[in-house]
Structures are given as C-alpha cells and as structure tokens.
Point group: C2
C-alpha cells in the first residue's frame, strides 16, 4: 500500500490526496507537522533530501517527492491523463505553470497569512510583489478557461486538480476571485467531481 | 516542422534546443528578444497568454509553452525518457525540483547579474535570499548525484538536460561550484553527450 507523508493544509499534498481518492487507491497517511520541523528531521531528510512534503512511499521502489511527480505516477493510464500526446503535453504545461507561477504566488501568500499569521506590515513589499504575481496567474488561468469546461481537451484531468488546489483557497491569502467568472465556475465544476473532498481531509 | 520561439541566452529555451538536436528533430527557430518586449506583443500573447519563451509551435495542433511540457512532448517514446514508470516519476521529480527550486534561484540570479547587469547594491536583500536558496538547491543536486552517473536509473534522461541548463551557467550568477564535486563531474558527463551544443547556439 502507498504511504503519503503529508501536512493536511498543504495544497500540494491535497493534489496527491485527491488523486488517490478519485482513483480509489488505498493509502496510509503519515501526518508531518512542518510547523514543528517535521520535514527537516534526519529521518525525513533521509527519505527526501529536499525536506518537503508531500512525499509518496512506493512499496519496493522508494520515495517520490514533488506533487506533480506523485500525481502523474499515480494517475498513469487512468482517465485523469489525456491519451492524446499533445493534450498530455498541454496538461503538463498547466502543471508547470502552476508550480512556477501560481503556487509560488497564491500558495505562498496563503501560507504567510493563513498559516504563519503574518501581518501586512511585516510582509511589506514582498506581499505586494506576490499579490501582483498571483493576480497575473489568475489572469492567465481565466484566459485559459475561456470557452472551456476544463483546462485540457474538455475533460477533467490532473491539470484541473493541480490548478484547483491553491486557487480554491486563494481567498485565504486575501485574493478576490470576483473578477474571474471563468475561474469561479470552473472551481464549482471541479468541486462537484466524484470523490472530491475538502483540502484538510485525510 | 516544429517552430521554436526562443531567446538564445535562456536556459529554459536551451533545454528545448538540446532535446531537438539530440533527437535529430528538425525545427526552425524564431528569435524573440525578450529584452525588447518581444514576448509581450499582442501577437506573442495570442500564442502564449503567459508571455514567455520558450514556446513550441506544433504543426496542425497549436502552441505549447513551458520548457518541461515541450521537452517531454518532443522526447516521448525516445531514450531520453525512462521506460520504467517509477524511474519516469523520478525524472519528473527532478524536473519539478528544477522549476520550483533551482531555476527560480540560480536562473534568476544569473538573469539579474549577467543579462540585466544589476549590481549587488541594487539587488540587496533579494540577492542574498536567492543566493541562499540557490546553494540549497545545489546541496540537493549534489546529494542526488552521490554515487550516480546520471540523475535517474543510471541513464542520461530529460532530468539531466533540465538540471544541466541553469547549473552549468551558475557561475554567471556568481555561484561557486567548487564545493560540489558530484555536480561538476556530472556537468562534464552531460556536456560530452552526442549532439550537445553550447547554450547560445541556435
């Protein structure tokens, strides 16, 4: 059975949990309290030298870090990955966009504000920069969803799961989704998928 | 024939060019001068709303942004992608690590210093943070290469191409690779692969 080392409020961990549940894969969860240094212990660093969750333990193979490596491994051959090669590449384009643009902005601001409880005054210029970059990511997502039901090939895929993870909790970092109707309607569609569960559910 | 929209000093673009060359795929290059706003014109934004190079034009299908989406699309079914599912997931883990940790630190510092010609004084605290994060990425890469010839399954793969791109020009951002012998020897191995070309070669 798979074992997932995870911190429940993590959007990156949530991606892995959603895929495990939506594909009906059995797993055990080992909670890691990253706020108390749980991902930086010698034991954890021996499993993932980068000291980060989520981390998937694959029986007889080893440890797999990075949310997108985990979900693409779990979903291989399933309906969550497009069969067409170009559509699959478009799916990866959205996953890369999420990790490079949306997560480091929207995910980071949410982490600072709703998990570390930092104030605007403490964060200063860094917050202003990240908010700007977060809204730029939302602009790209809004445009990518124009006239589309899902991000790739009109079918629900890992791209939707990945982008949903931090976008649906963007308000926890103070982002206002009101000017993004395509994004809001798409969030509703993703949250109505079979097997969907809230972010902090194990 | 493929068309690659690219800016030659870009490490992300270089990944795509290396894969195209090492797989013997024909392509035409359209240089985009990002320093003169070439990736933010209405024409370019119509192809990639995220306004970034590299961008691959795939005949009869459309436009594909994001270096890792591009290289995994181009290399599908080739020797550059491991056939074993877990090894393939480990390859993706390295690609994700590169885009989330190594490129935003080492790649960004190189961009500031060697392309934008910013000074240490101008960059201040931002530079100190990025340097710290860049060296942390090099620590992880050094550890990942311990006892290994290549990053995944002892075979040259997209993981090596991706991590090579910004690591081999880390010195252009002032990073010192002297304390990283595993990294230095691996850089030499990657640079001796058939079809290897320098970063700014079209």
């Amino acid at each position: 059975m798979y074992r997932l080392y995870d911190y429940l409020p993590s959007g990156n961990g949530y991606k892995a949990r959603l895929v495990l549940k939506q594909l009906g894969l059995k797993y055990e969860l080992t909670p890691i309290d990253i706020m108390k240094g749980g991902s930086r212990t010698p034991e954890f660093l021996a499993m993932n030298p980068n000291g980060r969750i989520p981390l998937l333990e694959v029986p007889e193979r080893g440890y797999l870090p990075e949310s997108h490596a985990i979900i693409s491994f779990l979903a291989e051959g399933s309906h969550l990955i497009p069969t067409d090669a170009f559509d699959r590449a478009r799916m990866w384009h959205w996953l890369c966009f999420e990790q490079y643009h949306l997560e480091p902005s929207i995910g980071t601001v949410r982490f600072w504000i709703s998990i570390l409880h930092k104030t605007r005054a403490e964060l200063g210029e860094k917050l202003i920069e990240k908010k700007k970059s977060g809204y730029a990511s939302l602009d790209v997502l809004e445009e990518g969803l124009r006239g589309r039901t899902y991000l790739v090939g009109e079918k629900y895929s890992l791209a939707d799961i990945s982008l949903f993870a931090y976008t649906h909790v963007a308000h926890e970092g103070g982002f206002d989704l009101a000017p993004y109707p395509n994004v809001r309607h798409w969030l509703d569609r993703v949250a109505s998928q079979p097997g969907w569960t809230p972010i902090t559910e194990a």
